[in-house]
Amino acid sequence: MIEVDALSKTHQRAGAAEVHALRGVSFRIRAGEFVTIRGASGSGKSSLLNILGCLDRPTSGAYRLAGEDISSSTDRELARIRNRRIGFVFQSFNLLARTTALENVEIPMIYRDGRVDRKKARAALDRVGLSGRYGHYSSELSGGEQQRVALARALINDPALILADEPTGNLDEASGSEVMAILKELHREGRTILLVTHDNTIAAHAQREILLRGGQMVSGE
């Protein structure tokens, strides 16, 4: 599913020295795996996630997603991959303000082909247990509910890969375990789950862990 070879990322900061966020990271993730990426802040896990999520391109090294080399893809091609193959879940939910739960879930369909299937969006919300919340604005939902809307949004285009960046970081324990339960269910369906966390108990859900330190992989292959 994911093949990463000697991946490096160097950030150019104006007026400051270069920051080497990733220094030659290599690993494989097979389709259907549940893997956590763990590391302290500054270890390079965000940089890695951005590249894996096709939001950023590596400075050097190769990244193949489902056999496709995306190191040299155009903005449009990357957007298409994000739209169809990847579902993002963020720590801060990132729902659109002044927009209903249903409309939030529909957005990825707009960028797919413009065919907005409202029934499918409702089904996605039903699936994460938000049947009664279609018309609620994000500001009217609890943190746990917002994160479940975000999960429904991540699922709507049926991606093979879910990238979750500290998805329980802003949630209480009960909401957090609901979100984890949904992620595990998605894993059972055969989706590949990649979870960034620094929480050991969350990491325990995974089959495998990639540990980063100072931009390099300490363990995980």
Partner: protein, 407 residues
């Protein structure tokens, strides 16, 4: 399909941020409103000016020859013109110049007493040729005009302007009645439809028309004309006709090469143009102000859209993460700017028509409303929105999704 869905997103965006959208609309609305008002008021002014000039001059396919070299002040009459423009001159213009279709002759006075029974008045008395109606664009209301035969036989017949008729006859029917003009009896054979006001606002209807031959031989005893109206075959070539008439008359009047013309030729189309130019100078200035308002409206749209971009960084990041490319972001922000300005334009048209309607009612003129100018205004508004939306949209597309999503 995708474009349609993205357009719907843009529409939703303008509604989500309705307060900002409203302020973005306002500048465009003011600009379009002033333009819409100007269109109506300007067109009204132009039509009114044209109508009055036309009332005075008659048709526009003529040039007018008057005796006297300098600029004649006011209306010519037998009392104030030089006796240089003869009947034979008028006949020569018609006969010798190929560009002239026909000529009309005028011999007029303002100090001749006209009476019917006890009623004594001094309307303008015009001795005119039989083709007068055609040259002036006048119409007979009752009765008939005289014929060429009547003119040749020095018939004592008269046609009354509507005001002269009212003053002399009141409600009484004037046809076949006898009036006295300078003591000479004339039979009234017709009346004219009203011409309305001239450029200065005065009446053009207080006159009595009689055959120019009768006027010359039986009434005034003068052999010169006060005006010759020459109708052109090709109205667009008035300058050439003026040139030809000048050459012909100078020759006939035996003027030395150094002598000034002893006649003046005016071109009604040129006069008309001059008068409408004066009217349009004002509207051009106002138009400039409207454009300035529109430009300011565009700048307002741009700066509010830029604020919008920085406030909506997270939204941009989210959209990028779920599959929007840079082009999709550009499209959304451009569409929002266009929507807002078209809405502003529509609002402005409503406002402008309301204002124009009030003004028209005040000036007692019709409200002029053209779908073409409405469509043009909307297109203009959309163009301004798009133009001033380009930079903010480009900025939106350059927002780094990683930075935007981190916050």
């Amino acid at each position: 399909m995708k474009a349609l869905a993205e357009f719907a997103q843009a529409l939703r965006g303008t509604i989500r941020f309705r307060r900002r959208s409203f302020f973005m609309m306002s500048g465009i609305a003011v600009g379009i409103a002033s333009l819409a008002m100007l269109d109506s008021v300007g067109e009204n002014t132009r039509r009114e000016t044209m109508k009055r000039v036309k009332n005075m001059l008659g048709t526009f396919d003529t040039v007018i020859v008057r005796p006297g070299g300098g600029r004649t002040r006011g209306m010519v009459s037998l009392a104030n013109v030089e006796p240089v423009l003869k009947f034979s001159d008028a006949q020569a213009i018609a006969a010798e110049l190929a560009g002239i279709k026909q000529v009309g002759q005028l011999q007029n006075a303002f100090d001749v007493e006209v009476s019917y029974r006890a009623q004594e008045l001094t309307p303008a008395v015009f001795g005119v040729s039989a083709n007068w109606l055609e040259l002036r664009g006048d119409a007979v209301e009752q009765g008939a005009f005289w014929s060429v035969e009547q003119e040749q036989s020095l018939a004592r017949v008269a046609v009354l302007g509507s005001e002269a008729r009212k003053n002399l006859f009141g409600e009484e029917t004037p046809l076949q009645k006898t009036i006295r003009i300078g003591g000479v009896p004339f039979a009234v054979i017709g009346t004219l439809a009203s011409r309305g006001a001239g450029p200065a606002g005065g009446s053009l209807d207080n006159l009595v028309l009689i055959p120019v031959t009768t006027a010359s031989k039986r009434l005034f005893n003068r052999d010169f004309l006060t005006m010759v109206i020459a109708q052109l075959r090709d109205p667009s070539d008035a300058d050439r006709a003026v040139q030809q008439i000048t050459t012909l008359l100078r020759e006939r009047h035996h003027l030395a090469a150094t002598a000034l013309d002893d006649f003046t030729i005016t071109n009604p189309a040129a006069v008309m143009k001059q008068m409408t130019n004066v009217a349009s100078t004002l509207s051009r200035i106002l138009r400039g102000v409207a454009w300035l308002a529109m430009l300011i409206g565009g700048v307002v749209i741009m700066s509010l859209a830029l604020i919008g971009v920085s406030e909506r960084r997270k939204e941009i990041g989210v959209r990028r993460s779920v599959g929007a490319g840079r082009a999709d972001i550009v499209f959304q922000f451009l569409a929002e700017a266009a929507l807002v300005s078209v809405a502003g334009g529509a609002f402005g048209i409503a406002l402008g028509l309301g204002g124009a309607n009030a003004l028209a009612a005040y000036q007692k003129l019709p409200l002029i409303f053209s779908f073409q100018s409405v469509a043009q205004s909307l297109a203009l508004a959309a163009a301004i929105g798009l133009l001033f939306g380009i930079y903010p949209a480009w900025r939106a597309s350059r927002v780094d999704p990683i930075e935007a999503l981190r916050a």
